[in-house]
Symmetry: C2
Subunit: 142 residues, 2 copies
Amino acid sequence: MNFDALSPEQIDRLRDKLRASGLRSTRPRLALAHLLFGAGNRHVTAESLHEEARKVGLGVSQATIYNTLNQFLSAGLLSEVIVDPARSYFDTNVTEHHHFFIENETRLIDIPLNEVVLSTVPDAPEGYDLAGVDVVIRLDRR
Amino acid sequence: MNFDALSPEQIDRLRDKLRASGLRSTRPRLALAHLLFGAGNRHVTAESLHEEARKVGLGVSQATIYNTLNQFLSAGLLSEVIVDPARSYFDTNVTEHHHFFIENETRLIDIPLNEVVLSTVPDAPEGYDLAGVDVVIRLDRR
DNA sequence: ATTTGTGCAAATCGTTTGCATCTGA
DNA sequence: TCAGATGCAAACGATTTGCACAAAT
């Protein structure tokens, strides 16, 4: 596990982020947090993150990848995007927004909230609370 | 397999529907088609349909359920709804429309197309064609 | 010292597939 | 007749879990 590229400040920032969410700052978690939150918004699958971790020389098992992703998810550090029956996508953008999904590239692109305007939306049926609205625009490479 | 409840007219209608889609009208397919298309729009999972088939006394295996659902899907007799990472939903409504998904009841409700108006939608990125727009409104029982 | 996380391998769950056997056209 | 369907069980891929060990507070 190569932490040389990380400045102490970066490490501290990640530590704080984890602690603030009630998670212990362990080595694997710090390393994965760095991959995930180190640069802009990202979409990963368990497999893509595992692959990435391997390349960077992290000896993390798939189980830890899954556990960590799920912990980050329940801690609110990640959101889940449900667009593909074959696998789960995790998004570092936890604000409300929508997605393009490129079916034959297995790739997601964020759509800022203000670029989709729902001018008419049905009321929730009696006895139910609104939990969220997901808009997925499916694309195919031309 | 109890076909007593089916009038010859109903059987013929289903036969035609299958044939029109290039599918042979076999016993299991006719029976499942009857369950699926017999009464209004429906949402099923492989498991729920299997269960239902069992109750009606059909000796169909899970494999046949899956194969049949997928054949109906590619034949355009069913559509797929992707809302739950845990299982696939099939919808007998093959026209464009949207969905309520009740997370803790594992249940779908159709939303007619005109009840959701997207007044602003981003352009597809260069080089990509629009394949579809899915709106899922997630609900929780109050 | 105690609690929480990790790794591994085995277990689980939904879904798909190979193959021998049936069956509809 | 014979291409196409079925059933079963085995295979599969993604995800979860049990448990012994390791590390964090």
